[in-house]
Amino acid sequence: MKYYVLIIMSCFINMTYSQNCKSKFFGEVHDFHDGTPMIAASIYIENLDKYTSTDIDGNFSFDNLCDGKITVVVSHLSCETKRFDIQISGDTFYEVNLEHHIEELNEVKVKGASNSKLTKTSQETIIKAKTIERYSASSLGDALKEVAGVSSINTGNTIVKPMINGLHSSRILILNNNVRQQDQEWGVEHAPNIDINSAGQISVIKGSGTLAYGGDAIGGVVVINPNRVISNDTLYGRTIIGGQTNGRGYNISSTLNKNYSSGWFAQVQGSYRKNGDFKAPDYNLTNTGLDSKGLTTRFGKKKFKSGFEVYYSYLNNEIGVLGTSHIGSTFDLVRAINSGQPILIEDFSYDINTPKQNVTHHLAKVNYYKRFQNFGKVNLQYDYQHNQRLEFDVRIGDRKNIPAIDLTLQTHTILADVNLDSNLNQKVNFGLMGRFQDNFANPDTGVRRLIPDYEKYDFGIYSTAEWKLNDDLIVDAGIRYDFNKIDAKKFYRKSRWEERGYNIDFQNIIIASVIGSQVFNGVIDPNAQEYLTNPVFDYHNISGSVGAKYSINDNNQILFNYSLASRPPNASELFSDGLHHSAARFELGNIRFDKEIANRVSGSYTYNNSKFSFLTEVFYNRIKDYIYLKPLDFILTNRGPFPIWAYEQTNAELFGIDISATYNFTDTWQWKNKTAFIKGYDLKADLPLIDIPSFNTMNQITYNHEAWHNFSASLKSEWVFEQNEYPDFNFEIENQLTEEIISVDISSPPPAYHLLHFYSEATFALSKKTNLNIALGVNNLLNTSYRNYLNRLRFFADDLGRNITLQLQLKY
């Protein structure tokens, strides 16, 4: 890669045709950012083999040069070396600006180079490309579990939502190539629509320390960046082909990159993944197939001083939901829980029947940046996202081909961001964000809208600063203000409207009455079946953070961070109003909700030496007005009794500790541990919070022998304890026929389990530039039957049995 050097002027004085060997070549060398002269930079004229260096003012000169082309190499300690050709024609002056913010140049580092973390004082972990590649046939949520303290809340095995320190969905912000993912993330069974094969590096940040991305990351931030752009004339690519025995899955993913030394680049990546019904150790998990298609393409020009990128990604996932989880009544749920295994077990098939999801996500972005000397970098970005979610339910007749849920969410965002980095010891970043969002619930479903039509406006302004007080201490701080406005058009059944008491507080937002299929605008008719309402809510959110990083010595380092995050209620928490099929319950939102406010304090301690590395992270997160679902009441319907769950606000606290450790016994043997412990409580009801991960610990032994084609083999033990603290939301229903009382155990967590996983790989060089990596893995080596507390389908079936995976990866 070459770094852009600004050539301000060149003087052509003696425009003669005669050969002149009395020319002078002189100039100055400055730091690009703050313009300070660079002392003792070495200047070497390669073709003449002449050296000099700059003086105290950054000046240099060569005398008695012949006119003609010379090749100059300028280098300085801690700067990238710059090599360029210039034409000498009489006395020639050049000003050279060297760049020494190496970490910001986004250069691909040689092996063993440091990670480029996005934050200084947050609890951030980086998942590198090498690790991501292993998850080519899985989902983002699976890969994130590489980080201690990160778990997932699942609906089956293909709908995997990341959970950071016990929080998920709207409390986690996901950035895909600097675009905040807007894919109806409020739903627990809405997995992030990101093709993991498009990721070059993933950063997981616990807590909301990174205000540039948003102020509402009460749980954390996941930042996914594509491969870095290399400014060399090069063409390279990667193809991954994999197969899995469980689900008879196969996947292919291919990436091709073309780069030019001029800074132009282009990349195209496509992937396809398919599997049929998965298998638990004892039975098939009917209707758990997946069909996923992804395409990502980008091009642009990247120079040090300015650049732009145009990016587009497409992802379509068709996901079968375990057939047996479709239930019609609470009695069906009881039968499912009591039977201990799925009622519907069919032979293996690739068919994806109802219930299923079909989600399509388009993301397009264009950004432009420019660096100003003595100032910093200005970045402008516009992005557009189009997310369509279709959920097909078990319905009568041809209606099974009509989605029961058909929601389209479109988001436009503009971002402007300024990085003032001219002073290396004090970096300031500030920016503005504007967003418009439109949610459309297609009425052709023939099912009442679960989420209403709405428009949402967001505006954010933030500033963060970082001070390097001395070589050992970095302090950072940030503040952000967000304004959100949601403007919805929602139909309420009159019975619900009154049962929630909205007729007392919100009668003024009714804009029409529905009688039969007729709509009377501007009328509040007491005989109406439904009211059309226009809730408009504004939220003002303040968020902030302060942190410090202190290096005690070369081996020991501590971090401290405090953050304040503020999250407005999402569309589901405000407006939910309907039957949740697989949970056999009604879920009700509440338009009275105010924002959640979280205060999170965290500290980390890192120890590193050549053999042993140890990281411990502790946190305490107190959330005021924490929104969660809680049993409220019962309703007797023509399908029997149903529990009603309503969103409620309480005060909650979560605290825990995450540990990661690595020990290298020898050059070839390594031990690794990852442990997470977390507790969460509802402080008002004095109850544990629901869906909190239990204590879990992972130990891994790896044998690695570089001489054998970089062969490595590892055995991983994953031990997940039983969650012994959970809220008892069990309930009783009456079988009206026999008048017998049936207790429904929906709360008890499944027992602890222990799994073993094996993984091995080797890399073979096929030619100078081509290598082939072959990886063989066995998940759940012992074919253990288990259920995970954080899998929403745990009532219906066991988790996956043994899965043998083979993956070939060709890099060229």
Binding site: N374, V394, I414, A416, F491, N638
Partner: protein
Amino acid sequence: MKTINLNFLKNINFFISAFFCLMLVTSCSNDDDVNNPPPVNDEELITNVTLTFTNNADATDTVVLASIAPDGQDGTSTEDVTGNFTSGATYSLSLAITNASETPADDVLNDDIIVEADEHFFTYAVNTINLTMSRDADDTDGADGSKLGVKTTWVAGAASTGNVQISLIHQPTSTDDSDGFGSSTGGSEDLSITFSGVNIQS
């Protein structure tokens, strides 16, 4: 320092104006739509389930079990029992399942359930009331080779009081109609209604 500040201001200016230019471009996409979204008519709604038992020997002797759920499966249902069975009499059951939120009411039984009879199965159950039943020979064929259960004959035994239950199973895994009342495994319950306090008088 002065030049830096000036430069800084100039850049800030550029930055802010660029931001608002972008804002203008994107705000065009928001056409203020004054049209309200149309209401959705829940197509699968079942609001009224009526079981009319008619004495085969006396057409004026009827027992009507009616369930009304104005909001369909999403809302409260109320059950009502009219009339008493006569001990020793034989009754034919006539079922009506409708969606009365539409005008005219949607005949769910004939338009949806019977059309898809192979995916459906009615089961009946009684408790402490001496009613027995059988599926008629001309009853529609239902799921898994059983009779659907829309044409049934009921015999009232000795005087008694109890509950009568009707369930509609969608896509059952297996069904058994050998005892008339019917039983099944798997699938999901589209209806499960219990009428209490049904009488047989001597």
